[in-house]
């Protein structure tokens, strides 16, 4: 069973409109992000900064866990986990 990644509305233009994509064989959040970045050009720049760290205005949840509060991109993934990408938005 793969890991499911929930793509937020502002990033869906990069995933051909898909709100959910799946990733196989990713042991960490980092590996999942790398896999998605290969499949969906432009996504990496939206999630990671020049040094490869999670951007300060984007967050990722593993199930209900905020990865920033733990091991960040090194957070381990298990089969069936769900990743939710949450970008800051500021429109009003």
């Amino acid at each position: 069973m793969p890991v499911i990644v929930k793509i937020p509305a502002p990033l869906r233009p990069l995933t051909q409109g898909q709100s959910e994509v799946s990733v196989e064989n990713a042991a960490t959040v980092q590996a999942a992000v790398e896999d998605l970045s290969r499949r969906y050009p432009g996504l990496r720049e939206r999630l990671l900064d020049d040094k490869g760290a999670l951007r300060r205005y984007v967050n990722i949840f593993r199930n209900d866990e905020d990865i920033r509060h733990g091991k960040s991109l090194q957070t381990a993934l298990a089969e069936g986990d769900k990743l939710t990408i949450v970008p800051a938005i500021a429109g009003g």
């Binding site: 937020p8 509305a9 502002p10 709100s19 300060r56 205005y57 949450v86 938005i89 429109g91 009003g92």
Partner: protein, 230 residues
């Protein structure tokens, strides 16, 4: 008399102000915006009409609310909310609603609310997406627990650039008013320590938990149990 300060009389501020005035007409609404009405605003900024183009949004909104809602106490402040004036503006504020169109302002509002221990209702929209977070300083978490800070200017699109679904503005603005009304009644808002998200394209909603970040510099200004909350 209790006071709600609404930052930004745009796509969120307009419906939020209208809904809050209808729900609690006795509450003083301080409407803060430095912008003027533009024709492109009219589709989602429901307090404005064609004849208001060019006039200060805060003033038009206050006038219109007074006419629409008998007994409404709306006051306009044509002013750019920023760090230098935040504490003065928040003196006497019982709840702050943030519906501005700027990342910088949103983090200033978050930090100022935490420092002054004033409940903040944060609402945001972009494209088909909407977000709501209730910040009760001293309880739960804040915007900076979720995101470390704003993106550099120009890194992410604004509403003016990416567009926004007009009906979603009404939904999120009304939800902000509901949360503010809960705070003013002394009830607990729903979106404490969780980010409520709307997807207007698929008509779905979901929450993600926002735990307090022990290293959060804004929450450090409001230690647990030091809340000034009606």
């Amino acid at each position: 008399m209790r006071t709600a300060v609404i930052l930004g009389m745009g796509g969120l501020g307009c419906p939020a102000a209208l809904a809050l005035a209808e729900e609690m007409p006795g509450v003083r609404l301080l409407l803060v915006d430095h912008d003027r009405v533009e024709r492109s605003n009219l589709a989602r900024q429901i307090l404005f009409t064609e004849t208001d183009v060019g006039q200060p949004k805060a003033e038009v909104a206050a006038r219109r609310l007074s006419r629409l809602v008998p007994g409404a106490r709306a006051e306009a402040l044509v002013h750019h909310f920023g760090a230098s004036s935040a504490s003065e503006l928040l003196a006497g504020c019982d709840v702050l609603l943030d519906g501005t169109d700027s990342f910088e302002t949103r983090f200033v509002a978050n930090d100022a609310a935490c420092a002054a221990r004033i409940p903040l209702i944060h609402g945001a929209v972009l494209g088909w997406g909407g977000q709501l977070l209730a910040v009760l300083p001293g309880q739960g978490s804040c915007l900076r627990c979720l995101f470390e800070g704003p993106p550099p200017p120009g890194a992410l699109p604004t509403c003016a650039e990416a567009g926004v679904a007009s009906p979603l503005c009404g939904v999120v603005g009304a939800a902000m008013a509901s949360e503010a009304a809960r705070v003013l009644r002394g009830e607990r808002p729903h979106a404490i320590a969780r980010l409520h998200q709307w997807d207007a394209l698929r008509e779905t909603e979901r929450d993600v938990p926002v735990p307090r970040d022990p290293r959060c510099p804004a929450c450090a200004l409001a230690p647990e149990a030091a809340l000034r909350h009606p």
